[in-house]
Symmetry: C2
């Protein structure tokens, strides 16, 4: 596939403006006619019945040239399915055919991006990290730690640039020197939320700001809900750090599952409202419990990337054969005991006690005394 | 089944002394000959080969009469499978046949108990609550809250009287005025740990202290491991509140699963070592995540006892039909917009916008103005 011509790119830009929410019917039209012809058909209202409603309100708005210029002035561009950097592999599970499978998100027409990173490369190994705007100190700390570790391990952090968990995720990735991708529900020229203008500018300098809407598109609730499918779509899995009962993060995790990608949630204190959504998701099987970046990688990573098995320090009795332990534990803390006494106390037959004691002596757990056997000092029985 | 005669009870007491760890072979002997004859056969070493080793060390120790007297002096008694208060239904899944199914715990010979409660009644609706001795402030708080709520709901709290989670569980149940059962790895006349002497005395006053070992038996590590199967066996499920990587609590939860009963774990901060075992159990599917007493009851309760579905307060847009939301959100925060402007901004066809606006007006979300339509003040769009 070769990059579109200038006219072709304008057709893609026009379609991304005209269609608020892409439909499988539009993708069918694109597949049949290509972008330029599809755009001409939409412009002249020569579309199949299934496309009339969704293209009616804006078919006359042809701001493609201005939109492309506006993006370019910001260091941005329109990435189309014909461009080399189109993340085709990542977006492969999205729906493009009629009838669209129920619940499966529909492929965006094209993606407006702003920043130096290549869209396909920066999302090649990526984790989407989302959560409540109303983050707790705990949630902020855990988000920062997990995202720092993911970034340091070479994973891109994808999020939605919202206050709370999203912002903490982007900041931690930037701090670790890793790339990060912010997917917006408004145009890439917009700073939403306004308080994250500096953060978005920084992301546009080193990572990528992404939107399916053309420049100038204002933020709206339903756009952020649709945006969530792209947050899920650009990551290898979705990690929810903190979420209340009702949370956009939960819908992003649901998109991940529809795309057959892992949804993960971080637990927290049951006394914290901020973790209720995460706990509920784990309870219902909507998400897997994870506690470290390594465990996240175990879910999203390629074959062979497994979390290390945690180990704990050995305990005093660890070196002792299970069969010998009752004998060792039957010895009094002070003084000595005879094999007979040890047998009665432990319930181990006398001959087995007699056999065990020299073994325990060899292992320096017990010592022979005048009255029988006693624990060796310093042996941690 | 009628209660055993005095001689019969002495036979049970003798066997509970002779056998450190009951085996399916012993249960087979009991089933074939009854307690008195089985005791006589053990005493005279006329046992099948499979029982020789386990009865050898103590077959000559006949302290049954003294043990029963000692228990009685403490307000205790020996509950045998022939007694009406034997919790046969609860202990039904335990192994009694040869060969014993691998991993299934073996039925205790009999149970020494101390306290006013009837063993079968007090364990009829019971949850076993266990966890680390090294409990955190969070773990102590959560244990207290969960056990208080369980006790207030009529559930008996079963635990092991250890420091940490166990102690907090017993105390919370007592505070709520509910019965609680402490299962020990030593005799019921022993206070182990010593620091819980007062707590154990209190439990013996209003609940029940239980052990499969006769009075005088000292505490030993392997006895506590074997005890864990009884903690699991006397509850309808096992709840682990806090547990490190290696924890007796985890083994108790494993016994619950072997008995086909729910194992549950409470999550906590991922930054706390005390919750690592719980998180690991949830991750591996060894335990279900629970956060409230109601969720515990959902797992252990009889049919029909379901946790209430938590609800959250309604949001401003909640009452708005999903199809109308884009129209509502396209209205400017200040000033007015024409249906045409709203159609272009939202991507909703003009006729649909024209149909939606009067509906939104009726629901008092928008008002008609001279210039078009605007948001109604106070309507939380």
């Amino acid at each position: 596939m070769s990059a579109p011509t200038a006219a072709g790119r304008q057709a893609w830009a026009y379609l991304s403006r005209v269609v608020e929410a892409p439909t499988a019917a539009l993708h069918a039209l694109l597949a049949e006619h290509g972008a330029e012809r599809a755009a001409a058909l939409v412009r002249t209202r020569q579309v199949p019945p299934g496309l009339r409603r969704s293209t009616e309100a804006r078919h006359h708005l042809d701001t493609a040239e201005a939109d492309l210029a506006r993006a370019g002035a910001l260091g941005g561009r329109l990435v189309t399915p014909e461009d080399a950097e189109w993340p085709g592999w990542k977006l492969h599970p999205f729906a493009t055919t009629v009838p669209a499978p129920r619940q499966v998100p529909v492929l965006p027409v094209a993606l407006w991006v702003r920043g130096p990173a290549r869209l396909d490369e920066v999302t090649d190994r990526a984790v989407s990290v989302v959560g409540t705007r109303d983050v707790s100190g705990y949630g902020e700390h855990v988000t920062a730690e997990l995202c720092h570790d993911l970034a340091a391990d070479g994973w891109t952090v994808v999020s939605g640039a919202a206050y709370g968990v999203d912002g903490a995720a982007h900041r931690a990735a930037l701090t670790a020197g890793g790339p990060t991708v912010a997917v917006l529900g408004c145009g890439i020229d917009r700073a939403y939320p306004a308080g994250h203008a500096a953060l978005l500018a920084r992301i546009a300098e080193v990572g990528l700001v992404v939107s399916e809407h053309p420049p100038g598109t204002t933020a709206a609730g339903y756009r952020f809900l649709a945006r969530n499918r792209l947050v899920a779509g650009l990551g290898d899995g979705v990690l929810v750090v903190e979420a209340g009962w009702r949370s956009g993060a939960r819908s992003t995790a649901r998109w991940a599952r529809e795309l057959a990608r892992p949804a993960m949630a971080v637990p927290g204190p049951v006394t914290s409202l901020g973790s209720t959504g995460c706990h509920q998701m784990i309870r219902t099987g909507e998400a897997e419990l994870v506690t470290t970046a390594a465990e996240v990688v175990e879910h999203v990573g390629r074959v062979g990337e497994l979390a290390e098995v945690s180990t704990s320090p050995p305990r005093p009795l660890d070196g002792v054969d299970a069969a010998l332990r009752p004998v060792l534990e039957a010895l009094p803390r002070r003084g000595s005991a005879s094999p007979q006494q040890i047998s009665e106390s432990s319930g181990v037959p006398l001959d087995a006690v007699r056999a065990a004691l020299p073994e325990l002596e060899l292992d320096r757990h017990v010592v022979r005394t005048e009255d029988g056997w006693s624990l060796r000092r310093g042996a941690g029985a």
